[in-house]
Symmetry: C2
Subunit: 130 residues, 2 copies
DNA sequence: CGGTATCCGGTTGGATACTG
DNA sequence: CAGTATCCAACCGGATACCG
């Protein structure tokens, strides 16, 4: 047979994990989701709470999250215009795993950054010591 | 006072969440971590299990994870050469939250992709119907 | 208020070939 | 076996200005 041998846990190019990480892997998506955890916000509020994102990039982030069914965009036809963004039920189910990650970050990122500094110092030492 | 007013949950530019998402947000990092969950693997094994990553990119991913103290790189001076990669204790603490995300993905990514298709169809309809 | 339009630089990641 | 070297296209995200 010309199919590949089984080699344990393989992550295919289109496996769910890859899709999800491509989705939440951009710079702003998870911040937006977490900021919306407590309820709907309008565009200008989002801009204030997710700093410091330009309107173009925030718009793109919101549109792509809407496209994926993670949030709803509601336009109130009034003057001045008002647009609310809120998590969908699907989007809300993402909150617990994201919260777990945020807690890991709060507990461990400082350690990670220290390791990073040490690594860089070693590299510098090696380079200089040649 | 010229400090900004408090406006609720703000994610600063250098908050732990942002650092973590910048860290795990690249295309391969989380896959590598999960593949290493069951124990150390050598370079060629990683290449087989994390498809389809080129050696240059895999090397870069591994180096940056090593830099952040999430995995160790061990060189066995023998012929042919052998290099093992394994999670550090810190790296292992990242597994539970990543597993939670993977499970979310397995349960919900199909829904997400369906929403995506529907959104695109609507957009097409709007564009064509102008 | 809630966006768009345009331009642009940096980074990411892939193709390919080569090396100790 | 475990990488490096080189080149390169695409995409991401930021700056700035403008619009309904």
């Amino acid at each position: 047979m010309d199919t590949e041998d089984f080699i344990g846990n393989v992550f295919d190019a289109d496996c769910p994990s890859r899709v999800l990480f491509a989705r939440i892997g951009d710079k702003w998506a998870t911040l937006v989701i977490e900021v919306l955890a407590d309820g709907p916000l309008r565009f200008s509020e989002l801009r204030k709470r997710v700093k410091v994102v330009t309107p173009k990039v925030l718009t793109h982030t919101l549109r792509s999250l809407e496209r994926d069914g993670l949030l709803n965009r509601t336009v109130y036809p009034q003057v001045p215009s008002r647009v609310d963004y809120e998590l969908t039920p699907l989007g809300q189910t993402l909150l617990p795993p994201l919260t777990a990650l945020r807690q890991w970050a709060e507990n461990n990122v400082s350690t990670m950054l220290r390791a990073r500094d040490e690594y860089d110092e070693e590299q510098d030492a090696v380079t200089l010591g040649l």
